[in-house]
């Protein structure tokens, strides 16, 4: 059995959280040693997790093919769709 040591809310561990290079964290934290969570992998993970900027790239580049008004309409449709399913 493995364990994950976690910082509880309101504790120094929570406040200190981590160092992202700016030197704001002075409290060392325990790192999770849990096994890799059930999550997508490979191309599915790349597209899934970067879906929004990838869609942006596709729609913007597609303007060369279908023109700016279709891009604007598709953007609005995408915005509305995510508002329903996300």
């Amino acid at each position: 059995m493995t364990c994950v040591r976690t910082g509880n809310i309101g504790t120094a561990e929570n406040r200190g959280v981590d160092s992202s290079g700016f030197g704001t964290r002075d409290v060392p934290l325990a790192q999770s040693d849990m096994n890799k969570a059930a999550s997508p992998s490979g191309l599915a993970a790349v597209i899934g997790r970067s879906l929004f900027p990838v869609i942006a790239l596709v729609l913007l580049a597609g303007t060369f093919v279908w023109g700016p008004w279709v891009t604007l309409g598709a953007t609005y449709a995408w915005w509305r769709l995510v508002g329903r399913i996300g």
């Binding site: 994950v4 981590d18 900027p53």
Partner: protein, 351 residues
């Protein structure tokens, strides 16, 4: 039993602190590519026949679409992606964390250090307390202000006022104000790159650089922040999970780096974002027993319901509908609250 290693230290292996963090960097790179593409298309519009035929009205329509798409992604990039980095560094090298961070938040209209201070030092350390100025203000009756008021007022207006106060008050130490000044200088230097690329064309800068930043904060980060803690209260022994809402919509969490697992995140911020779904499973029974609010939707749907709920109360009620799998059985006798512990060992199954 392995208790892990201090997250603040480098493992000394490879580029990334966690293999899944590759996706955080890819997101940022795709976003930068999107901005570069949009700037280039604006600059060459009149010289490319397939674009020039739509005239400047078409060019402006393209720019509005680009602002929506890139602003949306920038909001995720700061509020979710850099957010994860602010809790657990992405790279093993400190200088890479610092410099990637400085570039990471600019398209969202934030100096990285400022956002990190607001989120970690203010929001996480004082969640829902009166000094947590990152959240909506409370009205006289204790309810939160309108989501519209919060969205329009919080960035940049309230944030600037509070950050300035933090910088000059000295409450964060003598060097804090100087560090804020240095990081602001770096932010301005990086922030000025797109206006230079766009030749300081006012319309281009407004549509392709300023508008995305406004949308990132007002239309993406603010509703998300509001939804994460709507209807919540300060953590107590009687309501240990009442400080946040958890959202378990699969599409949302797949595309938003599992930010929906928000009770888990606030209680255990050092759990890596990729491990939150599994960590959630270990906590599920406790959440059901304690009546934690677990919602079947994501922030997008949630934000929409909260916005409509300003006029139609039934829409707001829909936001708070508990996920069917997390409804506490009515015949359960409430257990006494567990004593507070600073560190929790959560057993998980080894593979």
């Amino acid at each position: 039993m392995n208790m892990g290693t201090p997250a603040g230290r480098s493992s000394g292996k490879g580029l990334f602190a966690h293999p899944e963090d590759l996706h955080c960097v890819l997101f940022q790179l795709f976003l930068v590519a999107g901005f570069a593409l949009a700037f280039t298309m604006w600059n060459v519009w009149d010289s490319v026949p397939s674009l020039a035929s739509y005239g400047h009205a078409g060019r402006n329509a393209f720019a509005v679409a680009a602002a929506m798409l890139l602003g949306w992604s920038s909001g995720i990039n700061v509020g979710v992606n850099f957010h994860n980095h602010s809790h657990r560094k992405v790279f093993n090298a400190a200088w890479m964390n610092r410099w990637f961070g400085r570039f990471w938040t600019v398209s969202g209209g934030w100096p990285a250090y400022y956002w990190e201070h607001s989120h970690v030092t203010v929001h996480h350390a004082h969640l829902l307390e009166s000094v947590d100025w990152t959240l909506p203000k409370r009205k006289a009756n204790g309810e939160w202000e309108s989501i519209y008021v919060y969205a329009l007022a919080h960035w940049p207006f309230r944030y600037v006022a509070h950050l300035w106060d933090d910088a000059v008050s000295g409450r964060y130490g003598a060097k804090f104000g100087r560090k804020m000044a240095v990081e602001f200088a770096w932010f301005v230097a990086i922030w000025m790159i797109p206006p230079v690329v766009l030749g300081f064309d006012p319309l281009a800068v407004a549509l392709l650089w300023l508008l995305p930043q406004w949308l990132a904060n007002v239309a993406v980060m603010a509703p998300g922040m509001y939804a994460q803690h709507a209807g919540c209260s300060v953590k107590t022994a009687d309501a240990p999970f009442g400080h946040s809402n958890t959202f378990v919509n699969r599409f949302f969490n797949l595309t938003m780096f599992n930010i929906g697992y928000h009770i888990e995140h606030h209680d255990h911020p050092s759990v890596h974002w990729s491990e939150l779904p599994r960590f959630h499973e270990t906590m599920k029974a406790r959440y059901i027993d304690a009546g934690a609010r677990v919602l079947p939707i994501g922030y997008y749907r949630g934000g929409q319901l909260l916005c409509r709920g300003e006029w139609v109360s039934s829409q707001r009620d829909l936001f708070f509908v508990q996920h069917a799998d997390y409804v506490r059985p009515s015949n359960v006798v409430e257990a006494p609250a567990a004593p507070e512990r600073s560190v929790v060992d959560v057993p998980v199954r080894a593979s």
